[in-house]
């Protein structure tokens, strides 16, 4: 029995080692050549014309949703139109995208073109000298640049006159979705002022309906969807921009404390369902669409998510508007928080023919055709385009039309340093658990002050 075991084990081990050597060598060679793409090719390829230009692009449109497929199709089209180029396109799952990008950034091995978010994400890359401007595209296609909404390039204009990316999405984060049927059932109108909102919340609570569905497990949700817009109504946009720069305003100012107190009021009124901090936003959206909650405050992504999982009739029932106004606030009432979405950036190490092709690729992905296609994939863009209404669902249409009529105010985490954003995200969760408004404001002020001082 022992002899038999020994022989079998030896054979098994030998087999495995052989398999390893064979495949690892094969895999290694195949992997090795692809690996060179980002690092050392661009300069050399200019000399040898027969050799293909190598280009690498990273993005996180890896899923099955319409927008992801749209973006990937444009990349494929570009690849087909340029046989002289070898394109290494990586679709990385969004969950791991940031981690992977951070790791290659730490090793200074960025891909030629990569998807980056507005705000601290792209700012860090700029400060580290890892990206170069794409202004050449704007010079070659001036009408394209004109058609972007106001402010589309602000977060990407790190130097006056030079843009570093063009947004292919619009971040719109604070829509008030509501279920008219539930409102009718209890004889209520959708609230336009804060007092109306309080009244509506109380009536719903008395009748066992959750007033506002919230899924704040990933803590950016409450900050991005509610606080940004709510606070702007109280403090005004100018105050916020000054506080971000720590130039004449601080987060411990009374305006901001007042804004946080309005949020606290929502918590105290039990506007959200219990345990909202352990439910993720997809689950909260489902909770809402199934008629368990009367309202939901969320971003444009909610429409994309719901389109994938709810029926047309359910979607058609939902109405959309802006959150109510605050009495005596310094900000404009009819606004949503939002701003330019993410876009593609160009690595500072790309040069020569590769750079030309990279710029063309970026234009393909953010040009008029792409913007229209993305808008038609149930995803807002910051570009003035018309869409074919039959291609999108009813709710998206309502949202698309609404966006053209409202003002846009900043989203907090697009302007705060990443550390300060974490602080306010966690702070809102603290407030939801009964924490003190003043202490959260102080922590936020300290974090942002530190970031500005660097």
């Amino acid at each position: 029995m022992q002899v038999k075991w020994k022989a079998q084990l030896k054979a098994l081990l030998l087999l495995m080692l052989t398999a390893v050597l064979v495949t690892a060598c094969g895999g290694g060679n195949g992997g090795g050549s692809k690996n060179d793409t980002g690092s050392n090719s661009p300069g050399n390829t200019a000399k040898k014309e027969e050799e293909k230009v190598k280009l690498s692009i990273w993005h996180n449109f890896a899923g099955d949703d319409l927008r992801a497929r749209t973006v990937r199709s444009f990349i494929e089209k570009f690849q087909a139109e340029h046989p002289e180029m070898e394109l290494d396109a990586q679709a990385i799952p969004p969950d791991g995208y940031r981690q992977r990008l951070s790791t290659v950034a730490a090793a200074n091995e960025m891909p030629d073109v990569f998807f980056t978010y507005a705000g601290s994400h792209s700012t860090e890359f700029y400060k580290a000298g890892l990206i170069q401007p794409i202004t050449d595209i704007a010079r070659a296609h001036p009408e394209w640049k004109e058609k972007f909404f106001d402010g589309a390039f602000t977060p990407y204009e790190f130097e006056p006159g030079e843009i570093y990316s063009a947004p292919i999405g619009m971040s719109a984060t604070s829509f008030l979705y509501y279920n008219p049927e539930l409102f009718e059932k209890y004889g209520l109108q959708v609230p336009k002022t804060w007092d109306e909102l309080v009244h509506v919340i109380n009536v719903f609570n008395e009748n066992g309906v959750t007033p506002i569905a919230l899924g704040n497990k990933a803590p950016w949700v409450a900050q991005s969807t509610i606080l940004g817009s709510l606070a702007d109504r109280v403090t005004g946009t100018e105050w916020f921009l000054k506080a971000v720069k720590q130039d004449g305003a601080q987060f411990t100012d009374p305006e901001f404390i007042e804004a946080l107190n309005y949020f606290k009021q929502l918590v105290d009124l039990k506007a959200f369902q219990e345990g909202a901090n352990s439910i993720d936003n997809t689950q909260a959206e489902q909770y809402f669409i199934q008629g368990n909650a009367a309202m939901m405050i969320g971003g444009a992504w909610a429409v994309t998510n719901l389109a994938a999982s709810a029926s047309e009739e359910q979607l058609a029932k939902i109405e959309i508007t802006t959150i109510p106004s605050i009495p005596g606030g310094k900000g404009e009432p009819n606004t949503i928080s939002g701003g330019p979405g993410a876009g593609f950036a160009l690595s500072s190490r790309t040069e020569g023919k590769a750079r030309e092709l990279a710029l063309e690729l970026i234009y393909t992905l953010s040009g008029p055709e792409a913007q229209k296609a993305i808008a038609e994939s149930n995803s807002l863009v910051m570009y003035d385009t018309e869409i074919d209404e039959t291609k999108v669902n009813a709710l998206y249409n309502k949202m698309f039309q609404l966006v053209k009529t409202v003002g846009v105010t900043p989203v907090y985490d697009a302007y705060l340093s990443s550390e300060a954003a974490e602080v306010i995200n966690n702070g809102l969760q603290e407030i939801m658990l009964g924490g003190s408004v003043e202490s959260v404001a102080q922590k936020l002020q300290a974090a942002q002050a530190r970031a500005v001082a660097e």
């Binding site: 981690q99 959206e285 994938a308």
Partner: protein, 287 residues
């Protein structure tokens, strides 16, 4: 055994039987509880997104086997599974080979620096792997090892060796030395002793280490995410996260992908479990 004890203490037969049945029922209950989540995973995989949210606990109204096919295609799971298999098997083989060898040396021999080596391996147990992501990435980049199977095989092995050695030493220390001493007196070299005697005796611990290692490597995410660039080299856990985009998750596809990913591990466990039992039966007769 328990029956004998109870009889010796004078319990009547009926009560003994009842106690035995109660014990068995309790164990079965525990087993059912632990199996429930797996059952839930499989029925969720076969539902539409809508049904997943509306009726999370009931059997699917429509058995959407389509989900499995879609998850398989979109996630390129065939290729991913192949990659995972290669990396997992190789790393496991390497871990066992290097680990048992080292464990044998550490438990039977004395030499200078032995304490230092032992302490070094213990240190390996304490390391949170995420802190080594960037240094390892830089290291591999310089050596040109990225995007190869070795990029995963070596770190996986390195981090599993401490456990393998720990278990190996504990196991080997319990084996009496007389057999080896006899073999040495017969003129067998160390390699002979190791190959002919130790390895077969170590089968239970080899199987144990294998199960733990295989599961660790099969489900490992962070290293695979960062060290493997090209689509063709991706391992299975990466395809599982494909269906959530940071703003929303397609649960039915995610559950399907997970259900598919789980099947091979269940099969491997059942196979290895047999070997552990056989090894143990052989082991207990050895004296």
């Amino acid at each position: 055994m328990t029956q004998v004890q109870l009889r010796n203490k004078g319990f009547p037969a009926g009560l003994r039987l009842f106690a035995a049945l109660l014990g068995r029922a309790a164990l079965l209950g525990y087993a059912a509880l632990t199996l429930y989540p797996l059952y839930w995973l499989f029925i969720s995989a076969l539902k539409t997104n809508e049904e997943f949210f509306q009726r999370p606990y009931s059997l699917p109204k429509q058995w959407m086997t389509d989900n499995l096919a879609r998850a398989w295609d979109l996630g390129n799971m065939g290729r991913a599974m192949g990659n995972s298999a290669i990396v997992t098997l190789s790393a496991t083989a390497l871990t066992i080979l290097l680990g048992i060898l080292a464990a044998y040396v550490l438990s039977r021999f004395e030499f200078r620096g032995k304490k230092a080596v032992s302490a070094l391996f213990v240190l390996g147990l304490l390391i949170p792997i995420h802190s080594t992501l960037v240094p390892l990435f830089i290291l591999m980049k310089q050596v040109g090892m990225l995007d190869t199977y070795w990029a995963l095989i070596f770190p996986y092995t390195a981090f599993e060796l401490p456990i393998a050695i720990f278990l190996g030493v504990a196991f080997i220390s319990a084996i009496p030395k007389e057999i080896e001493e006899a073999a040495i007196m017969d003129g067998c070299g160390w390699w002979g002793v190791f190959g002919k005697m130790m390895m077969p005796l170590c089968l239970p611990v080899v199987a144990t280490i294998s199960i733990i290692a295989v599961l660790r490597f099969w489900n490992e995410f962070s290293f695979a995410l960062v060290f493997m660039n090209s689509q063709a080299m991706k391992t299975l856990p990466l395809s599982l996260t494909l269906f959530s985009d940071g703003f929303g998750t397609d649960y039915s596809l995610t559950m399907s992908a997970m259900a598919i990913a789980v099947l091979p591990t269940i099969v491997i466990y059942l196979i290895l479990q047999e070997h552990i039992m056989k090894g143990m039966v052989a082991g207990s007769v050895k004296s």
